[in-house]
């Protein structure tokens, strides 16, 4: 009687740990922290080690620690290459109204601009454009796809 109960419990624990580990692996392949994308799938490089984009949480324009690290590298690269100007393209995911998303994309790109400027990059070298939800990189309708699309991309302008 007791033995079967113990077995039953052990089985339940095993099952639970299986489910949990499944969740854990899922989280790693999902490449998200909270709902901010942390993967490299869509990332391109301005120069070796200098990623071109940063990602945002839903409805947010605050830069994450990882984003700030990326942007410091971009700033260093821009300081080294003083003839290069950039366009910051701000984007939103598809889960918001079109007009609000245009404003949100503009806000995201500008928070990147502000950060680059605090690292000594002149505002004259940076222009900003918002695409709202009009130019997704991932066409899926799922949280991972949306996290890749909530982004600001730094593009060489010349």
């Amino acid at each position: 009687m007791n033995l079967t109960k113990i077995f039953k419990n052990a089985f339940m624990i095993m099952l639970a740990s299986l489910v949990l580990s499944a969740c854990a692996t899922k989280k790693v392949t999902n490449q998200m922290q909270g709902d901010v994308y942390t993967g490299k799938d869509t990332v391109e490089y301005l120069a070796s080690g200098v990623a071109d984009r940063v990602f945002f949480a839903t409805n947010e324009s605050v830069l994450t620690t990882a984003s700030r690290e990326t942007l410091r590298k971009q700033a260093a690269w821009l300081r080294k290459n003083s003839k290069i100007n950039v366009v910051l393209e701000g984007h939103a995911d598809e889960r918001g109204t079109r007009e609000y998303n245009l404003a949100l994309g503009e806000r995201r790109a500008n928070s990147v601009k502000d950060y680059l400027m605090t690292y000594g990059i002149s505002g004259n070298r940076i222009s900003v454009i918002s695409y709202g939800k009009e130019r997704p990189v991932d066409s899926g309708s799922n949280p991972l796809a949306w996290s890749k699309n909530r982004r600001s991309v730094t593009v060489k302008a010349n």
């Binding site: 609000y100 991932d138 899926g140």
Partner: protein, 447 residues
């Protein structure tokens, strides 16, 4: 560019305002649409022969009656009866209907008419009959160029609708929208315009640049929209008759979310710079720009009340997207949406009493309406994604767009126009040649 406004002359030859027996209540969801017989309009053989050549239609009389029938059907308020059951010939019915024959098939109202082609003009007359009372309710005639024949059908529907419901119709109108093609990541968007029933689609831009959110001027044939021409997102004006475009929101930043004021003389829009969006107006005559809001939050999607005294808009100044109302000079800002979820795209009803909106709550999107003080919120339709309602000119129907979910490869995605009655009934797919979004309903073209 578009020769729509070839004249239509209307002769009122008698409108009998005697106490009609039939009346259609449009304030509630109509579960018993009025049975109506739309007799094919009669046409003499000479006229028919001549019109066959110019219009390439076998019988323009029955084509016009089909336009009327389809309009009445989609309104949800009428039930057009099958023509197979009609006993009386169109020409005789138009002179003097045998009311017993029509009441036998349960018709309560009857539309008859006649088409004549003379001096290269199309003359159409029609009569509306009250079958139960055995009386003529209305008789009208129109003269126009033959190519306008669909509009004649729409005007007839408007007259019938008005006579039976007591409110103006919305059939002789057009929808401007964004036509969409191609994969989600590289969508090609063009401005397109069509009749309210989906016919006569014309493309107004070529798809070389991204275009969004076209809106009609309520007083004429101008349209304002957002274009990414030369990669500078700016508000533009387009004259749909001449095809002439001009930039109006050429500020050192992005201008977007444009709409006309009710008198058509101003454009209200958002201007985004340095990460902040505020609302501005521009007088189209003297190009004077006025700042209306001044707040570090996102202020967008402005829409005037029909008397021009108030503006409703969307702001996230509370931390999340909500709907606000202010006086048109920007003072007395008041939040009106307090329900659970996010609210966007407020649009003031042409009747003045309601604001339509998009709501996002728990991963679902809703189109709804509330009173202008935010009370009486009513959600009309729920879906995976839908937004941007636009009112029919009589304030009885909303048109909006809906997107479907796509799988991880982007398959399954579509964007379509839908309409729904203010009552929450009669939800319908509006047919478009391509995928479509951002619809805007014009005012009535005639009267």
């Amino acid at each position: 560019m578009i020769k729509y406004f070839k004249y239509i002359i209307i002769f009122l030859f008698s409108i009998t305002h005697a106490n009609a027996l039939i009346e259609v209540d449009i304030t509630r969801g109509n579960l018993n649409p009025l049975p109506i017989a739309v007799s094919p309009l009669s046409i003499d053989s000479n006229s028919n022969e001549a019109l066959q050549k110019t219009l390439k239609k076998k019988n323009i009389g029955s084509e016009i009656s089909k336009v009327v029938e389809n309009n009445l059907q989609t309104s949800g308020l009428f039930n057009p009866l099958s023509k197979d059951a009609f006993l009386q010939k169109p020409d005789i019915a138009h002179l003097k209907p045998r009311f017993e024959d029509w009441s036998l098939i349960k018709a309560q109202a009857l539309i008859t008419g006649k088409v004549i082609y003379k001096n290269e003009k199309l003359r159409v007359e029609f009569r509306l009959w009250d079958v139960l009372a055995g009386k003529e309710m209305m008789a009208l005639a129109f003269t126009t160029v033959p190519t306008n024949w669909r509009r004649v059908g729409h005007i007839i529907t408007d007259k019938v609708y008005e006579r039976l419901t007591g409110e103006k119709g919305y059939f002789d109108t057009r929808i401007i929208y964004v036509s969409e093609e191609g994969p989600k990541t590289k969508r090609i968007k063009k401005l397109a315009i069509m009749d309210q029933d989906g016919f006569n689609t014309k493309y107004l831009t070529l798809g070389n640049e991204l275009v969004l959110t076209p809106r009609f001027n309520p007083t004429n044939q101008m349209v304002t929209y957002l274009s990414y021409f030369r990669n500078l997102p700016r508000v533009y004006l387009l004259d749909i008759e001449t095809g002439i475009q001009e930039v109006v929101g050429d500020f050192p930043g992005m201008t977007f979310a444009p709409r006309f004021s009710p008198n058509g003389k101003k454009i209200i829009m958002s201007f985004a710079m340095d990460g902040n969006s505020d609302i501005y107006t521009m007088d189209l005559e003297n190009r004077v720009v006025e700042r209306i809001t001044n707040h570090p939050s996102i202020d967008t999607s402005p829409s005037y009340s029909p008397d021009g005294k108030y503006i409703c808009f969307n702001s996230d100044r509370s931390g999340y997207q909500q709907i606000y109302v202010m006086k048109s000079d920007g003072t007395k800002v008041k939040r009106i949406s307090f329900g659970k979820g996010l609210y966007g795209t407020p649009v003031w009803s042409p009747r003045g009493d309601l604001i339509a909106f998009t709501k996002l709550h728990k991963g679902k999107f809703y189109i709804g309406v509330m009173r202008t003080d935010g009370s009486g919120e009513r959600l009309l339709t729920e879906n995976f994604y839908q937004e941007a309602p636009s009112w029919s000119p009589n304030g009885r129907v909303l048109i909006f767009y809906r997107e479907t979910k796509s799988d991880s490869e982007g398959k399954g995605f579509s964007a379509k126009l839908w309409s729904i009655d203010l009552t929450g009934y009669n939800e319908r797919l509006v047919d478009t040649e391509t995928d479509a979004s951002d619809p805007s309903w014009s005012s009535l073209l005639s009267n």
